[in-house]
């Protein structure tokens, strides 16, 4: 499909623009909402803060990619620096830079939403058709090519321990198995929103603006009547604002961007619930070196996973975690290691022989895992997120699991990514090390690539931010269409769930 036409907001002369529907954010949720509105014959505009880069613009160079495609050049963190957050800031949002893992919403998550958050309309049956439709849209299929060594070693370790695992479905068409999904896809195989929904929306007449910073929503009585927009590069400057009027406004700027924009706009929030319960899937990392080359920088980044450590029961106390692997390129590894000098260098020199496992912890399913809060100070958006002792207990367990899997797979040395982490040669030594390490914030390296919640949907305005159709409770024509709608984290990679939910809400 032909990629969409994009207009840089730097080149917009008109002081006032007018549409039927305005969508803020071009990620999976924004892209699909825009497409559905176009299919209804409406005049639609999409405003993306990031640059309008497309397939021909992507280069397989880390520094360039992080600077161009990620929020804060991939340096975004929680307020206290406890969690590093990788989030897209480019045409296509997260769908342009994710590692293509495409999972349906887990059963236990849907059951939790039904039983604890009264979202009875969201169940396997009601979502089935929507999952099928969006899978077709973004080309989700079983990955038939053998996993790269990084993934294969995860499978081998799990198999030796008798732990279940499976292949990850991916949203690619004609993938060359390069391993550079996180830098945008230079071949166009990845079916990100700008190759699918936005491409179709553009062919139906949607206007897609990039480099456009939406400063705030302008509100009169109980309605939004316009956006105040300026070029992104002029955010801190004195550039005059442009006004964008519309009948309907859709926020899909991601689970930090959406609540951030609403807070900045001083939308009515009588129950003070906006931006609260924001989730991250706080993720721990365990590295290992092997005798044979792993070349973890090449090949489809994520093709094997295990959900064996995710609870099956609604009343299970443990947080639980999903196991996957990350692609490992020099800059990502270098900046993830909280080490220095010889210790840092020695690990870097073994890059080609390094394997890593990540454990994505579910958050939001237990009262001691309440998520974080999006805050706005002087126009800047922050996420305050506390890593509670309950979560730290889960981190310790996850490191033990990952280390055991790596030794079972034949690792020569295993090291937890931790300020005081040391590489060790035996499972016993690793267990001893982990039992003595603090899991406190800023000791253990914790990362996130999945931000969710902050504008939870629900029936009661006291307990939620939007209604069950994703409409903001206190403004008539404002809708949310991204992962911020989730009342908990998912326990799995969120892109497909965002798409299916948006498709469900747009009917």
């Amino acid at each position: 499909m032909k990629e969409p036409q994009v207009i840089s907001f730097n080149e917009v002369d008109q002081k006032e623009l007018e549409f039927d529907v305005v969508v803020i954010g071009s990620g999976p949720g924004g892209g699909l909402s825009a497409l559905r509105a176009c299919e209804r014959g409406l005049k639609v505009a999409v405003f993306e803060m990031g640059p309008g880069l497309k397939t021909k613009d992507f280069v397989m160079d880390e520094a360039t990619a992080y600077q161009n495609l990620y929020q804060e050049a991939a340096g975004r963190t929680t307020l206290g620096g406890e969690v590093t957050i990788l989030q897209g800031r480019t045409l296509g949002g997260g769908s342009a830079i994710n590692w293509t893992s495409s999972f349906e919403t887990p059963d236990l998550t849907l059951r939790t939403w039904q039983e604890k958050y009264s979202l009875t309309h969201l169940n396997r049956e009601s979502l089935k058709g929507h999952f099928e439709k969006v899978k077709e849209l973004i080309g989700v299929a079983t990955w038939e090519i053998p996993p790269n060594a990084n993934n294969e070693l995860l499978a081998q370790g799990l198999k030796k321990l008798g732990v279940s695992y499976a292949s990850i479905p991916r949203n690619v068409r004609g993938c060359q198995n390069l391993g550079y999904c996180g830098f945008g896809c230079p071949t166009g195989a990845k079916q990100s929103s700008f190759r699918t929904s936005l491409a179709r929306g553009s062919s139906l007449g949607a206007s897609i603006y990039c480099d456009a910073f939406v400063k705030k929503l302008l509100i009169k009585k109980d309605k939004v009547y316009a956006l105040e927009v300026c070029p992104r590069t002029a955010v801190l400057g004195e550039a005059p604002n442009n006004k964008v009027k519309a009948k309907t406004f859709i926020c899909a700027a991601g689970a930090i961007g959406t609540p951030g924009l609403l807070l900045r706009s001083l939308v009515p929030d009588p129950h003070n619930s906006l931006g609260k319960r924001t989730f991250l899937h706080p993720t721990t990392i365990c590295g290992a070196t092997f005798k044979e080359e792993v070349a973890p920088f090449y090949g489809a980044p994520q093709t094997i996973y295990s959900d064996a450590f995710i609870p099956r029961d609604l009343n299970e106390r443990r947080p639980g975690y999903k196991l996957e692997v990350p692609p490992i390129h020099p800059l990502l590894l270098a900046t993830s290691l909280p080490l220095k000098g010889k210790q840092h260098r020695e690990l870097m020199k073994r890059l080609a022989y390094t394997q890593a496992i990540i454990a994505l912890q579910r958050d939001g399913f237990h009262q001691e895992s309440p998520g974080g809060q999006v805050l706005v100070k002087k126009g800047q958006v922050f996420l305050d997120y506390q890593l509670t002792p309950y979560m730290q207990e889960g981190f310790k367990r996850s490191l033990l699991t990952m280390g055991e899997v790596q030794f079972a797979a034949g690792a020569e040395e295993v090291f937890p990514v931790h300020r005081h982490g040391e590489k060790v040669k035996s499972w016993q030594a690793f267990k001893n090390q982990i039992s003595n390490l603090s899991m406190a914030p800023l000791d253990l390296k914790v990362v996130s690539a999945h931000v969710m919640g902050g504008c939870a949907m629900g029936k009661e305005p006291k307990e939620s931010v939007t209604d069950i159709k994703g409409r903001y409770h206190h403004l008539e024509n404002l809708y949310i269409r991204d992962g911020s709608l989730f009342p908990t984290s998912l326990g799995t990679n969120p892109m497909l769930s965002i798409l299916a939910l948006v498709d469900h809400l747009e009917v």
């Binding site: 071949t187 390129h329 020099p330 000098g341 870097m348 080609a352 800023l442």
Partner: protein, 169 residues
């Protein structure tokens, strides 16, 4: 939130008061051209920390002024409020009284072994501010050192593979 604000206000806040005076000092004029964020004295602190952080590493192809330029370029893409925080920290470290408070020495930057001791102190500290300094500088230095292609060969990274043009395009 309150605890953090208090910490910042109590520890960094009062020290900030000395900084504006230093801004006007001729010592803070740029001597390496084209640097947007680093001034002379701060650049020296940065360089000392970077050298101690990369102890025993093979020197990259970049000379000292190029490394500072690379560091300056990394600072350029850091979010403005975070960059300001980082530059404030480096200003405090370049100013003897506040440097003493944060490192236990008024000028540990002249000797590589002293600078290394500071990094060790921060790395193992149980206090939040030294830990943040350690982690903040570590990722900055890692990004500076490994952000360029000149570091690839030393870590056995062959670089990106060839793309078969036209397959999915």
């Amino acid at each position: 939130m309150k605890r953090r604000a208090l910490l910042k206000g109590a520890i960094i806040g009062p020290l900030v008061l000395g900084v504006p005076l230093l801004y006007q000092s001729p010592l803070f004029q740029n001597s390496v051209p084209d640097l947007r964020h680093l001034k002379d004295k701060e650049a020296k602190v940065f360089e000392a920390l970077l050298n101690a952080w990369t102890e025993d590493w093979p020197s990259s192809n970049l000379d000292s002024s190029q490394r500072l330029k690379a560091l300056d370029a990394v600072l350029e893409v850091v979010r403005p409020d975070k960059r300001a925080e980082l530059l404030l920290a480096i200003k405090l470290l370049a100013f003897a009284p506040s440097c003493f408070f944060l490192t236990g020495s008024i000028n540990p930057w002249a000797s590589s072994s002293e600078t290394k001791k500071v990094l060790d102190l921060w790395k193992t500290s149980s206090q939040e501010i030294p830990r943040k300094l350690y982690l903040g500088f570590s990722s900055l230095f890692a990004a500076t050192y490994y952000g360029g292609q000149d570091s690839w060969a030393g870590v056995g990274y062959p670089g990106p593979p060839e793309v078969i043009k036209g397959s999915a395009l």
